[in-house]
Structures are given as C-alpha cells and as structure tokens.
Symmetry: D2
Subunit: 337 residues, 4 copies
C-alpha cells in the first residue's frame, strides 16, 4: 500500500513533534516542510527525514501533487489563508488549535471544508489521551447515567513569555479552549451559557499585556448539566490536568499522571512524585494517537472525531468567556453567531 504523502507547514515545537512521530508510522511519509524561517538549524534537524521539499513558501508545499495531507502548525493568524489554499487543492488537513481567532472566519472554513469533502481534524489532542478516552467510554456505557456536573482543572506549570501571550489570543482562546473542547467531549452536550471570572494573580506583566492568568468559568449545557473550569498559568508543582464528571449514578474522576509510583516515607515527610511536568510529557502519547486517527480517517477506516465544527464551537465558547469577563455578565452562546 502506498504511503500517504504529508507536508508540514510551520515547523516549531509542535510541527517537529508531529514529524518525529511520523517516522514511526508506517502508513505515512513526510515529504516536505515549509517554514518562513527555513534556517540552518531546521535544515540540520530535517536530515533524517530525507525530505523532497523544503521551502519557506507553504504554497509550494500545497501545490506539490505528492502531498496528500498537510499539518498546519504555523501561527494561528496564518491558518485561514493556508486552509483555503489547501482545500482548493483537495488536501486533507490537520490543523492545530485554534483554527482562527475569529469564530466567524472559522465558521466559513467549516462550511468550505464540508463542501470540499476533505478530511479535516483539529489538534485537540487531549481527546486522545488514555485517561480522557476512558472517561468518554464510561460515559458512553452509562456508568454514571445522566451528567449533572463536570469539573475541569487545567493549570500550566509556568506562564509563557510575553511574546507568546501577545500572539496567543488570550487565556481563554489559548489555554481554556482545550477545556471547552474537553467539556463538550466528555458531556456529549453543547454549551448554552458561559460565565467567566478572571484575575491577574500570577504575574502583573500578564495583566499589562491585557490578559489574565487565573480564571474560573461556569458553563451550562443543553442537557441541563452544569460545568466549571479552573485555570492558572502557574502551578509550581507541575502541569495539573484533572477532570471530574458527576452524574445521577456516580462520579468519574481523573487524577494527574505521574512519572513513577515511588512513595518515600521519612521522618520529615511522606512524598510521592510530582505530576508529569508539562504537555509534552503528559500528552505525548495523545499526539501520536491523534495523528494515527487522522491517518485512519483519510484511509476511510474511521469517521472524523475532532471536526472543524468542534474547533468552531470551542472558539465560540472562548469568545463568549471573553465577553463575559469584559462585561461581568452571563453570556448565552446563541449570542455568538
């Protein structure tokens, strides 16, 4: 069976991660990369891949007929243009989150993709995490019946640099967006209302940049359930990623993954391991699994799991949260059209 030819656009941390995982996926062949900074370091890094195309123009990549699918890992503000170009040439698309900072543009993309019939997957990798997939399965099997409450804790170990914050679209669009998607995934229901509280407690500079670093967001779902997400940019003990869903017949919770199960008991303290430090440790397997899933979708074996619609919905919720924070009021998702 011929391998699916892949091109990666934007070869930063995530782009490289995808490339390296592809080395071990026998169904794909990474053929080319594009990056506006096609520097020596990148050339050196690319050697083991024996690439046919290395360019600073994403168009060149997209136009190559050998490329059947592209991974968009460039900055968010470039996504729309790239997707349009790729769809026009019938390429399948894996796009990092968020699709755009503008949910209306994302809606347009969603419709475009649907008409074109290409496979489109958003990089909500956490849906593929071993823990959360188990939760989803348990929900499907009605283990706890109808959901009443969903609680998501999502805290980074340290804030990103100012440059990142500025280009991030803000905490809700950059960080909470994963949690918005998780909330929809786990409950299997759509968000109807959003109320957000935010604060600058970690670093005043983040506030000066117009963003917040701490938040509590309350959600109400179409199926009647209530939800709450808490976020912080700085959990000094490591990446804190927990989910809990409570329903009529019980509760399901996910604790943090740990590097080892070692427990040390001394006169001073009883200690266990810190959570895995950050997303590249905690979610490393999910990055592999999401790409496998994308590949199987192209091959026709699996229905799309994280569609453009999922990207669109998460963006709408992020936008609603921002509105709620700015206006100090409950925002209905239907306001966000």
């Amino acid at each position: 069976m011929p391998k699916i030819g892949i091109g990666i656009i934007g070869v930063g941390r995530i782009g490289k991660l995808h490339a390296e995982k592809m080395l071990h996926n026998s169904k794909v062949q990474l053929l080319g990369i594009s990056d506006v900074f096609m520097n020596e370091e990148l050339v050196e890094w690319s050697k083991p891949f024996n690439l046919s195309i290395m360019t600073n123009s994403y168009l060149e990549l997209i136009q190559d007929p050998r490329i059947e699918a592209i991974f968009i890992c460039s900055p968010t503000n470039t996504h729309i243009e790239i997707i349009k170009a790729a769809v026009a040439r019938g390429k399948h698309i894996f796009c990092e989150k968020p699709i755009s900072f503008n949910y209306q543009e994302t809606k347009e993309i969603m419709e475009l993709v649907e008409q074109a019939g290409v496979v489109f997957q958003v990089g909500f990798n956490r849906r593929f995490d071993h823990n959360f997939q188990k939760v989803r399965e348990l929900m499907n099997s009605e283990t706890i019946g109808q959901p009443h409450l969903i609680k998501i804790t999502s805290r980074d170990p340290q804030p990103p640099p100012a440059s990142y914050i500025l280009a991030s679209g803000g905490l809700f669009m950059d960080m909470s967006i994963h949690d918005f998607d998780m909330a929809r995934y786990i409950t299997g229901s759509e968000v109807e209302t959003v109320y957000a509280e935010g604060a600058v407690l970690v670093d005043p500079e983040i506030g000066e940049l117009g963003d917040i670093d701490t938040a509590i967001i309350t959600l109400r779902f179409a199926n009647g359930a209530l939800g709450v997400i808490d976020n912080s940019r700085k959990a000094v003990y490591g990446y804190d990623q927990r989910v809990e869903i409570f329903g009529e017949k019980g509760n399901i919770s996910v604790e943090n993954d740990v590097p080892t199960t070692v427990k040390v008991s001394t006169e001073e303290a009883i200690t266990t391991d810190h959570p895995k430090y950050f997303f590249l440790d905690r979610y490393i397997e999910s990055y592999k699994t999401e790409v496998n899933y994308f590949v199987e979708s192209i091959l026709g074996g699996l229905p799309p799991l994280v569609s453009a619609y999922d990207g669109y919905q998460a963006e709408r919720i992020a936008f609603a949260a921002k509105q709620s924070l700015l206006q100090g009021r409950l925002v209905r998702l239907e306001e966000i059209q």
Copy 2:
C-alpha cells in the same frame, strides 16, 4: 471547679448529639432540655442524663438561674426569639446554623450579642474538622503563599424529604452555607461577589417546591482570589466533602475520609471503601470539638472562633447566591445590607 450548667432547646437529631457528647465532657453538666414536642420517646431518651428541667417552654429553661449556657437546636425560624430572650438573661449561646433566614435580623442579633458580652458560637462544625483545621494551619504557615483559587465540593448522599426542603430556606441557606463559611475560613478573606448557577437534576419534586438540587457558585474574594463551590443533593456513592486551595506556592487538597483503608483487587475490579456515609459519620469528631471550644470560650481560655459575624456573613452570601440565581447575574455582596 463547678461545672457549667447547660440547657438544650430543641432536642432533635442534633440536639441529642450535643447532649450525648456532653456526657463525656467533664466541664459541663446538662441540666435541662426544652422541646415543643416533649413526648414519651424524649422522656425515655433523657433518663441517663438525670435532668433537672424538662419542659416544652424554652423560656422556662432560660429563666432557670442554674443554666449558664444554652444550645439552640430548634428550627431556624425560632432562633431570633430565643436568642433575644437568652441574651436578655445573660446566657452564653451556642446556635445551630443558620442564625436566621433573614440576614438583617441576624445583623441585629450580632449587635445585641456584642453589646451583651455573652459568648456566642454558631454551629459551623466543619471548622473543627481534623482535615480542614490542618488546611487552615497550613494556610497560616504560608505553605502555599497567597491563595489564588479555592474549590469546595459538597454533595449529600441523598436529598432530604419534602418537609425538610420546605423549612430549609433553600439549598444555599441550608447546605451551601457551610461551604460559604468554609470558603471564608480557609481563605481568611471576605467574599466580594457571588455568581450562582442552579438546576433541578436530582428530583423534579425539589423543583416543584421552589428549590434547586444542584449548584455551582463562583466567588470572588477581597484578597483577589477566586472560588467555586459545587453542590448536589444526591451523590449515590456517599457524602462527598472535598476542599482544595491553590496558591502562588502550591496546592492543598482534602480528600474524603473513609471508614477503612481496605483495598480489594479481584478480576472484576480494584475497589476501595466508600466515603463515610453522611455528616454524622464524617463530622462526628468535629461536633465534639466545637462544643469543647465553646466551653473553653466561656471559661475564658479561647477567643470565639465562629462568631455571630461569621453567621451573618455566610447568610449574606447565601442570600446573594439566591439573588444571583433568580436574576441570572453577578451580585456584589455590598448590595446585601
């Protein structure tokens, strides 16, 4: 040293509990009880106490000069009248929560008590729980520095009967009020704003009675911290009582207490014990400790820990939560005067 003479007004479940604990407290002597239903069952129950006074009139109890302190365990709507009568006679007062359903009346009581100089303690027993006291100590010792987020989970194992719901003052005043007090106790800060979401997911009858059975309440504190409380009237796996506080230098969490540490591993499942079933199991020690504390306060050894002001503040927050739910908006505590 002569023992402190005690009278209990209202001898239901909690009144009896206090009475039984007093048998083992060498500093107090239960001298009398009053209850509007002074029936045979109560007479039988009281025998081991060798009481001097058994009456259906609380006034008779209060007027007895041997009674130095009273425990008010009667329905909430009788508290104000009883407190006024007791204060007028210089009695020390232990009053079950809430002091009243009307925070303005409670404020009046608060001032009255202050002027009279009697010891007054509200029955927020959870402040005396071994777990939460440890959290308070850790906060005092700056283990995690400034608090950023506080999260309280408080779920009952089963809803009370309709008759109880009707007289309860509603979920916020009856159940969440403990959590409002806990939030103030743990953060050491006052609540400034309240946003509440509620739903009827457990039992439609609760909705027909005008109450809710599921809630998520977001708080903002004077020190900048954010907080969230989630409540349910029905956690089928037992009483779920957890607290978590996250700050600049870390996180402190309290898991449920369990009856045993037994873990069973079979082919079917790996299981551990359910949480202690309800408040009389989980908080039984705290009921003893709070009474000890009250007694020491009377004896002059300890400053009041749960004052009328604490009762007043919790009621204001409960009222604000109700307003928020009814009006679908953020409520500032300063609105509630």
Copy 3:
C-alpha cells in the same frame, strides 16, 4: 440493669486506658484498682472514678464480691498467679497479652479457665480494629476464595527503653505476637511451621540485651497458605501497620490510617500525612471495642472471640520463632508442646 463491677490490676498506660474507656460504657462500673505502686499520682488520677477499692494487693481486689470481672494489666510475669486466684473466685478475666512467657503454663491456664466456665479474653486488640475486621469479613464472604499468601508489616516508630526490652520476652513474644495472632485471625487457619530471620540493625544495645530489632518470619498454615511477617523496632516515619492477603480470587490489603487526608503539592514535594504515630493513636478505637466485646460476652450476648487458646497458640508460634532464630532452622509447631 445492674452494672458489671470491674477491677483493674496494674494501672500503667494500658490499665489507665481501659479505665478511661469504662467511664463511657454504661454497662460496667469500675469499682477498684490494685497496683503495687499505689502512689500519689495514681490516687490523683483515680479521683473522677470514685473508686471503692484502691489497694496494692491484687488479692484484696479479687476477693471483693462486688468485683465480677478483672482486667489484668500488670507485668506478664504476674499473670499466671493472678489468673489462678481470679478463676478460683469465679471472676471473668480480661488479660493483656501475652498470658505468660511460658506456653506450657499458658496451656494450664487455658484448661483451668475452660473448666471454671468464666469468660476469658486476651488483649489482642487488633482483631477489633476497623480495618482488620473488614478484612476478616471479606475473608468470611469468600471475596478472594482460598488464601495463598498473607503478608503482615508491623513496625514500631521507636524502640522501647532497655528496661522494657529486658522484661518484654523478646521481639517475638512482645511485638510479633500480635502479628502471629493476626495471621491466624485473618487466614482462619493454624500455623504449622515457622522460620525466622532476625537481625540487630536499629540499635546495638538491643543486641547486647540479647534481643533483635528487625525480623522476617515465614509461616506455613494448615490450609496450605504461606505467610510472612516483617518487623522493625524503628520506622522513623511512624507506626507502620499493614496487612495483605492474597488468594485464588484476588488480594485484600490494608494501608496505614492517617490523621488527615490533606495532600500538599509544592515545587519541592507532593506530601501526604504520616501514619498515625503509635498504637494509642492507631488502635485507640479497638481498645474500646474489645472491652465492649468482653462485656457482651459476660452478658451472654456474644461468644468469646479471643480465647485463652488464641493466647496459647500465639505464644507457641513466638516460641517456635525464637527456636528457629537460635537454631537457624525451620521449626514445626507440633514440636512445641
């Protein structure tokens, strides 16, 4: 119903503990105590009990007709004489472990007690611990079927003083004896062979006194199961009391009890509470429960649970372990007659 009149012989730490628990047991009345050191401190301590008899002669206590049952809490080498005197007068007996240092004398006592028909209970309080009782129940309900392996960890937080070591009968008779009884209790089977390894690793002085401070003891049971006990006189992190039983259909394990469920996560460490510090913390409830059980046995409501035979068997195993250690060989229990 008249209360059962109780006398306590030997009022050290354990004797006092039993006395204090009796204050809260409505079915018994502590009438007298005897102690060879009937000093001022003891007189002071006894005041709240309003005792009728305070003597330095245990015989005086036993001879009093109001005393129906005695608690023997004096040093082990006095037990035999006291038991004989008490049985002769038809008293019910609660005897701290071990009954004697000489299993042959214990056997004699066992027969004496049986003939006399008095209630006799040995102070193996751990059988009444909430965790271990649950394990016993699970074994009874065949949760894990036939037992294959039992593992007991029993480590003290700190070694006793030299004076205690000298009078203790050695590690096996003093400390492991609880574990020998637990092994029989949990497996519901008799020990057939014993192999013991011991070492002096904690404190050379213990070796100089002719004792060991660290041990691993392997047992083989009549039902085919194997067992292992590990002991240490010094676990710096606190009293370590765990049991695990593995069988054809699974495994049951008991973790240490902790004072609180608080978990602290900081940059330095993730910590939880130390185990309860020592037996008075960990087993405090079991001391109350065992006395309740003894009382119910006297009242006829319950069959004896920890009989003289149980004391005898545990002593035989302890003796066998000592033999095994001294001779470096497997010892069959049938050798110990």
Copy 4:
C-alpha cells in the same frame, strides 16, 4: 556515524519485541535473524526490516562480519553454545535471562566474556524500569540510609502452559530470578543466605510437572539487611509488581503502574484501574531502555550495567532457593560454587 549491525537469534515474542524497538533506534541496524523455525509467518513479519540475512543457522548469522552484536533470544538451553561461538568471533552479546540453567556453566561463560573483552548484557530489563531506577537513585542518594528490609512482590496474572513450565527451569529460575536480581540491584549488596517455602496452590498440574506456583523466599544480605520475595503464578487482578525497601531513615515503595488514573464512584463501589496486565504492558519501556543502554555500552559511553556476573549471581540464588525448598533448610550461598 555507521550504525551497529545487529543479529537476533531466536525470534519469538521477545526477539520480535527487540527487533521492533530497533526500528526506532538510529544507532543500530538489524541486519539478520536466525531461527530454527524460519517459517512463512516469520518471513512475512520480517519484511519491514529489509534483512540481509535470514537463516535457520545461528552460526551463519554470527559468522557474518557485518554483524557486530547479537541478541540471544532462543531457549535457555541453547545459550551457552551460542555465546561461546559469538565470543569466539568477538561479537558483543545481549543475552536473555537466565544465561543458563547451570550456574557453573554460566560461571565459565562469565570468565570467557571477561577475557574476550566483548560487551555482554543480561536481559534483566526491570533494572531499566522507570520506577525501579528511581528507587536505585534514591538509595544512591542515601535517602533512607542503610537498608534493613527489602520486600518484593512479583505475581503473574496467569500461569504459563505446561510446555513452558517444563522448559522453564522452574519458578525460581524462570520467575523469581528477576526478583533475585532486583534484590541485589536495589540493596546494592550480595545475598548470603536463602530460605525458600513453596507450594502448589494455583494449579495441581504445575505440581505434577515437578514445579511450584507459589513461594516465599527469605534472603539475608552481606550488608546485614533481610529480604523477602513473594511469588505467585496467578494474580487474577493482573501483573503485581511491587517493591519496598525499608531502612534506618525511612521507607521507599513502588506501587503498580496503571493504564489510567480514572476513578469511578458508584453506589456499588469505588473502583480504580487494574494494574497493567503483564510484562509487555508494564515493562515495555524498559525493553527499549535496556537496548539503548547496551548500544551505548558498545559505543563506549556507558559501563556495563547488567553483567554476566549479575546473571551468574541470580542463578546461584535461584539454585540455592531450589535446594532450600527441596531440603527444607536454610542454604548459604557460599555452598553454591
């Protein structure tokens, strides 16, 4: 840098595992395999490797000058012959455990390998497990000071078929041998005495084959520490792999790894995940790490970690355990020369 040419002898479950891991190791190139059953299934499986040599004669593989290192994954009774042939040709050797069923032959091999100066690593993969490596690090950093007790639980989820049992060398040589090596690795000390108890409790057929399925083995170490290993061929709840080491300054324990951290609370039970099912799940990473280590040893970057001497010592202990079981007595390791 040219890749190290590798040949694998014996391509069963473990041989295949090693081959597949090598696909992702850029420093090695699998050039050939040999297996006495070079059937179609194997040919099919080998396709992605583009092998230069596929033979049913291990000699052909060893004689090829492109092969620098061999992996011996054939049955234990073929190891000695293969190692001798490989050493004679200066090949580096990775040999699955045990090296042989005869510790005297293994000793000979050990000397041969030493003289030849080739790199030799035994397949005690558990030394490379994330949990146990952490324990080893903590021991090196004196976290708990001098070790007093080591406890290893090692239970398989289900017994192997009779054919495997017959060729396995028995429980001690096949299964406990990993634990003997772990005991030496963790304590950093040599075993001096062995006492073993064994039983047939899982399946009478295992007894009929002359083996046992359940064991408790007590060890005494040169540094004075005591140790105990418990083994079972059938833990119905999954692969049970725990280690605990107790010392003068504390205790270190390793719990089982679990597939997910999901906890489900219902009215019926509070459940968490089963342990990872068997060694290919639990130790999968360690198989990769041990091969990396072997490769680095060949490249000169790392000293050998699991030497022929380690294989030899573990076999001696296994032999001593067998002697102890058969003779019902303590066996000193110095007897086993």
